[in-house]
């Protein structure tokens, strides 16, 4: 089992595994891609044949134009929510992780447990809507951004706390002796050193916020507030017979996670496993 050389047996097993992986994991995605390039009647057959007529570009245009360019609006809304929520998460989350790690005390422990409980407890949806209405943030992008911050905080603090433990205390002490204020110690000395874990947080959280369907469904109803995952949902109810456009829509909203996956594979793996194993 520890022999890593490519023996004939490993080669054979690899080929079998490749074939299985192809059928189980790759064929479904090919199905999406092929059907996204078909005409509507052709795609309604639900089969694997190649398109009778290749209409890739026409389908892209039609999908984007549907419902007054809803997909473009959705891309804009989702991007805005993701970028703003992550900016807030990184700064505020790192601040919390920093003090929790550097100042072990009952207060810190209490805050930590409370924030981690957010990883387990399902959000109480209707009371949350009630709160959002009370502060006039229901059905607003600002409200959605703050919701994503609240729900992403547990994971973010978990990762930052673990990483800050690896940064020597002597660094902040040197700055303190030089007369730096606490916020200067944090923003000038510690935060710049958190780059690796910050990249991990950004990558993992951006995928989860961009792919979020449930929370915009509850907290962000309304045509002008559509997000990318909800465009699919609208497609399904409005165009039951246009599978080709439905699949094109899936394809178009899978591009950002795919790009992130190609370029940040290592950070994704680091984030998903470190956060998970220590949780």
């Amino acid at each position: 089992m520890t022999d890593r050389s490519l023996t004939a047996r490993n080669y054979a097993m690899g080929v079998v595994a490749l074939l299985l992986a192809f059928v189980v994991f790759i064929v479904p995605f090919l199905f999406v891609a092929i059907n996204a390039m078909k005409t509507a009647p052709d795609a309604a057959q639900l089969d694997f044949s190649l398109p009778e007529r290749w209409v890739f570009w026409e389908n892209v245009v039609t999908t984007v134009q549907t419902r007054d360019y809803a997909l473009l609006l959705a891309y804009w809304n989702s991007t805005l929510i993701t970028v703003c929520a992550i900016t807030i998460l990184v700064i505020f989350g790192a601040m919390v992780g920093f003090v929790i790690q550097r100042r072990p005390s009952p207060v810190s422990r209490f805050v930590y447990v409370l924030i981690l409980s957010g990883l387990m407890i399902p959000p109480a949806v209707v009371p949350t809507i009630w709160v959002l209405q009370g502060i006039n943030l229901f059905k607003t992008l600002q409200g959605m951004i703050l919701i994503q911050v609240a729900y992403g905080l547990g994971f973010t603090v978990l990762l930052f706390r673990a990483f800050i433990a690896t940064i020597p205390r002597e660094l902040d002490e040197a700055a303190i002796i030089d007369g730096a204020k606490p916020w200067q110690v944090f923003f000038r000395v510690v935060l710049p050193l958190l780059k690796p874990v910050t990249v991990t947080v950004i990558v993992v959280q951006s995928i989860s916020i961009f792919n979020d369907f449930t929370h915009p469904l509850y907290y962000l109803p309304g045509r002008d507030n559509v997000t990318v995952q909800l465009t699919l949902y609208n497609f399904q109810s409005q165009f039951a017979s246009q599978n080709n456009l439905l699949f094109m829509n899936i394809l178009l909203i899978t591009i950002p996670p795919l790009i992130v996956f190609v370029f940040f594979n290592r950070q994704i793996v680091a984030g998903m496993t470190s956060g998970a194993v220590k949780g």
Partner: protein
């Protein structure tokens, strides 16, 4: 005079305010609102009525039981398959890195997209799965239209989508087991089978605990995949707590919906907290 700490508690405030208002307040308020008849206009105190209704109306009881069935089934499958895949993908087989990516990729794809895709693939007559089964002489079932099978089919898709994360966690766990353990086992004459059960399984225990706990929490809370594939149907046959909460909210029964939320919270707490404690204790003993 005590010196001011270099690590002031006010650093908690910005995040704390957002978290308190949007997470803690609603969670605490949910206990009160679950005891009311609540609709878009008013909330009247109702005592335990919502809970009584939840445990007496057959379709609501069904939702509670389905939630448990779904969570335990998917958690067990992800744990078992995740470990097997991780062992396979760390054994030095051909194209190992590529295979890891392929298995993991569905984790990153839109859940709604996956749900709609499999809805097409599982179409009873035209769907690719049943067409393929027919080609080898098997009469494929009505995956999503048969009330007895619908929840099970969604569970299979959830495993397809989530097993990559379990595999990833297991791969991280396996990499902490040094080669000397396997060498010692081989010198003692252990077969590969014995090595797996006596070395790998006990030593990969922390990863197993993580996978079980994470997939149980995820399974109990799952909403989007079920909503995309069956909307709880046919009938109420694949309704889970999360879909009941949404349906009752849509129907204007906010109190009943919130009671469902509280039941889900208590169920997760009652299952996951003792389980995590018990698993961690065994980990220390091992």
């Amino acid at each position: 005079m005590t010196r001011k700490s270099a690590y002031p508690y006010w650093f908690f405030i910005p995040a704390g305010v957002i978290f308190a208002i949007l997470f803690i307040v609603p969670t605490v308020a949910s206990f009160y609102f679950s005891l009311t008849y609540w609709d878009p206009f008013e909330a009247r105190f109702a005592g335990w009525d919502n809970y009584v209704q939840f445990f007496s109306e057959p379709f609501l009881v069904r939702g509670v039981l389905n939630t448990l069935f779904f969570a335990f089934l998917t958690s067990a499958l992800k744990t078992g398959l995740g470990l097997l895949l991780a062992v396979l993908l760390t054994s030095g087989i051909f194209a190992q890195g590529f295979l890891r990516s392929v298995v993991f990729f569905p984790v990153l794809v839109s859940t709604i997209g996956v749900g709609l895709l499999f809805q097409e693939l599982m179409h009873p007559t035209q769907g690719a799965i049943n067409v393929a089964l027919a080609a080898i002489g098997i009469d494929g079932p009505g995956w999503l239209v048969n009330p007895k099978l619908a929840l099970f089919s969604v569970a299979l898709v959830d495993v397809w989508r989530g097993v990559g994360l379990a595999t990833l966690i297991y791969i991280a766990g396996l990499s902490t087991i040094g080669p000397e353990y396997y060498e010692a086992a081989r010198i003692d004459g252990a077969t590969r089978w014995q090595q797996f059960w006596r070395v790998t399984v006990p030593l990969v225990r922390p990863a197993t605990n993580t996978v079980i706990v994470l997939s149980l929490i995820g399974g109990l809370r799952l909403f989007d995949l079920i909503w995309a594939m069956t909307r709880g149907g046919p009938g109420f046959s694949s309704d889970v707590l999360a879909s009941v909460i949404y349906k009752q909210y849509q129907a204007g029964f906010w109190g009943l919906s919130t009671a469902g939320n509280v039941i889900l919270f208590l169920m997760i707490a009652a299952i996951v907290a003792p389980l995590a404690w018990w698993l961690n204790r065994r980990e220390l003993e091992a």
